[in-house]
């Protein structure tokens, strides 16, 4: 289990990480979501030891992380980094060799991964000759080639077509199943929703929500229900203790407490046949939007902050 506790980091006067703490469980895919400049990349760089935290700890299974421990991490930086003129296969083999695999084993690992990620035919092309999607796959291969014990991936799915996303998800899930903690950031909330076991939401440098995906959805669920009836649902508007969110003939989306909802269902059954009724849980995107919207009032004094380019957070020193 990878654990962050009380991590703070400032760049100049700006506090970009404020008491960041969360865990990445073994065997689970943990999605890390947040807006531009929320602190995702900074957090990941601190986990990797690429950047130092001002305070706070990062531990793996309770032990503080040193350089030796971090050697066993697999990292995919946000800016895709490989030697542009080097052949994909050689590049992967080189990275594996730096991690201690001998020439033969390193080459075998590279071939294996390229095959797995559908890049085998491009193995002898220079990285710069690959399409962006394929460069992305090569980058993922680079993070995996030494069989890491922890995986930290910054936006691994950006630029991938849906098929490629599935391939990569398959590879990551396989690693997670082997007991590897996998942390990846993404702004594709539907992807995170689909494949993450746990979700960590960060906004303005603070962790806003963290936990198993379903638990989060329950936690953020408003007492909201939807009903689909054969008749017109217009009467619902005059029903006490009910606030209608959306309405369209026989369909209605409304907020009400559990008892009122049951009453509504019974009344509806008296009117006409009901084909569907149930509580509505928010999607991750909705939760995320809620969280970020909550931020807005407190942000007004630093409104210019949000208009800054996203990569400012990676600019530590002047």
């Amino acid at each position: 289990m990878l654990q962050l506790e009380g991590v703070h980091r400032s760049f100049g006067d700006r506090l970009v990480l404020d008491d960041v703490g969360f865990t990445v469980q073994r065997g689970r895919l943990t999605g890390f979501v947040g807006g531009n400049g929320a602190g995702k990349t900074t957090t990941m760089r601190i986990v990797l030891g690429v950047l130092a935290a001002d305070s706070g700890t990062v531990t793996l299974d309770g032990a503080p992380l040193g350089d030796e421990g971090r050697r066993r991490f697999g990292y995919m930086p946000e800016e895709r980094g490989l030697y542009p003129k080097m052949r994909v296969r050689e590049q992967l083999a080189y990275l594996a060799r730096l991690h201690g695999y001998d020439r033969g084993a390193a080459a075998a690992r590279a071939d294996d991964l390229l095959e797995r990620l559908g890049l085998a035919q491009r193995a002898n092309d220079a990285v710069e000759e690959l399409s962006l999607g394929n460069q992305q796959r090569a980058q993922i291969a680079a993070a995996l080639v030494h069989d890491p014990e922890v995986l930290i991936l910054d936006e691994p799915f950006s630029g991938l077509d849906p098929m490629a996303v599935d391939v990569v998800v398959g590879v990551l899930a396989e690693r997670a199943a082997r007991g590897v903690p996998v942390l990846f950031s993404s702004h594709q909330l539907d992807v995170v929703e689909r494949l993450c076991d746990d979700v960590v939401v960060i906004a303005e440098g603070r962790i806003r929500a963290a936990g198993p995906r379903e638990q989060l959805r329950d936690q953020f669920a408003e007492p909201r229900y939807e009903i689909t009836s054969a008749g017109d649902m217009g009467w619902l508007r005059s029903e006490p203790d009910v606030s209608v969110v959306a309405f369209d003939g026989g369909y209605a989306l409304f907020d009400a407490d559990a008892a009122t909802a049951q009453r509504v269902l019974r009344t509806a059954l008296d009117h006409a046949d009901v084909s569907a009724f149930g509580p509505v849980r928010p999607t991750l995107a909705e939760i995320f939007r809620d969280i970020v919207r909550d931020e807005v009032p407190s942000e007004q004094d630093t409104a210019d902050e949000r208009t800054r380019p996203a990569d400012l957070e990676k600019e530590p020193v002047r």
Binding site: R26, G27, R45, L48, G49, V50, L51, D67, E68, R70, R71, R72, F73, Y75, P77, E78, E79, R80, G81, L82, Y83, P84, K85, M86, Y94, L95, R97, L98, H99, G100, Y101, D102, A105, A142, A143, H146, D147, E149, R178, G179, V180, K314, E315, P316, V317, R318
Partner: protein, 371 residues
């Protein structure tokens, strides 16, 4: 559940350095631009040597003079003159008029002329011919002759040029690779496997091998060229200085390489390399200009031959000119080696600390101060 069991051991520092060096070398050797520029450089050296051998050779062919049967023996055995047979005196004069020959040598029966022949010129007395025919007393020199200016100049130029070109080529390669690794952030992936010092050492080693290899190739081409064009004498004078040059080059290049790498590590984008590399470039070019402009100024040369940056060029030049005592290159090499060790220590510190700092340019003082 974890996969620790089949995890290989961390490679030793030395093994890591070798792997990094191997990658640097392979990347360079496979690049077309490197192969082409090396080929052009070697060809240029070869052409320079051949021209150097052939051009003076044409002068040695001798001045053409027209002779008739009766005067042919006068020219016989005079190397500087190249006889052209003419049918008679009038034909010989015609050759002079048409400027096909410098002069004509004709028999003269006049009893006052003890030599028994006259030299016919076109508009003025042909001094080459007169000089070649005149009798000079034997000469005894009390001191070794000074190296002629041209040779002195050319040899200085040669050492200076080779050093500058090699150092610039491979120095900028190191700088470029360093920034490129930073810019592409592959450095973040590399550093999870390799310590920064290992990366730096591998880069320096790889490029030093390449630089030395190229310089050795140039030296080989030069030696073969000199032997083929019969410039053995110059070769003999050059052999010791060349050996020293290679020694100095090796250490001197490592010094520059460390500066190139650590300077480049201060910036994050290729576009920003200009300002940080300017001082290094100047230091790299300095020895070339020093020896070219001051190769006849023993004081400047002596100082330059001890200053670490210019020693690799200035000391071999002084050795070639025979102006350095036997212990001087040893001392200069020692000074160079010590400064190289110091610079590497300092450079590694800067490199280590600025490698992961992205964004703006890192100030040297900052890199040295911060932990």
């Amino acid at each position: 559940m974890s996969t620790t069991t089949d995890r290989p051991a961390t490679p030793s520092q030395a093994a890591t350095v070798l792997m990094v060096a191997e990658r640097e070398i392979l990347a360079q050797v496979r690049s077309k631009s490197f192969l082409i520029s090396s080929g052009v450089l070697l060809l240029a050296v070869l052409i320079a040597i051949i021209l150097g051998g052939v051009l003076p050779g044409q002068d040695d062919a001798g001045t053409k003079v027209a002779v008739v049967a009766a005067s042919a023996e006068v020219v016989d055995g005079v190397d500087a003159l190249d006889p052209v047979d003419a049918a008679d005196a009038e034909a010989a004069r015609e050759l002079v008029r048409s400027e096909e020959v410098e002069a004509a040598i004709l028999p003269d029966d006049d009893p006052d002329n003890v030599l028994g022949f006259t030299v016919v010129g076109r508009t003025s007395a042909p001094s080459d011919v007169l000089g070649a025919l005149s009798v000079t007393p034997p000469v005894e020199l009390l001191e070794e002759p000074e190296t002629p200016f041209e040779v002195r100049y050319l040899v200085s130029l040669g050492f200076g040029l080779i050093f500058m070109m090699s150092a610039m080529t491979f120095g900028s390669t190191i700088a470029q690779n360093t920034v490129q690794e930073k810019q592409s952030r592959i450095v973040e992936i590399l550093l999870s496997a390799v310590p920064a010092r290992g990366l730096l050492a591998g880069k320096i080693l790889g490029n030093s091998v390449l630089a030395l290899g190229q310089t050795a190739a140039i030296a080989a081409v030069a030696v073969v060229g000199m032997v083929v064009t019969g410039q053995d004498e110059l070769l003999g004078m050059l052999s010791m200085p060349v050996v020293w040059f290679v020694l100095f080059f090796l250490v001197g290049f490592v010094l520059l390489a460390a500066i190139f790498a650590s300077s480049a590590s201060l910036v994050s984008r290729i576009e920003d390399t200009g300002p940080v590399l300017t001082p290094v470039m100047m230091v790299t070019m300095a020895p070339y200009f020093l020896v070219v402009f001051f190769n006849d100024n023993p004081l400047v040369l002596t100082i330059a031959s001890y200053v670490p940056f210019s020693a690799p060029v200035a000391m071999p030049v002084r050795l070639f000119l025979g102006e350095a005592a036997w212990w001087e290159p040893l001392l200069a090499l020692g000074v160079l080696a010590v400064s190289t060790v110091l610079v590497i220590a300092l450079g590694a510190r800067i490199y280590e600390r600025s490698l992961l700092r992205m964004g703006g340019r890192v100030r040297v003082t900052e890199a040295l101060r911060s932990a």
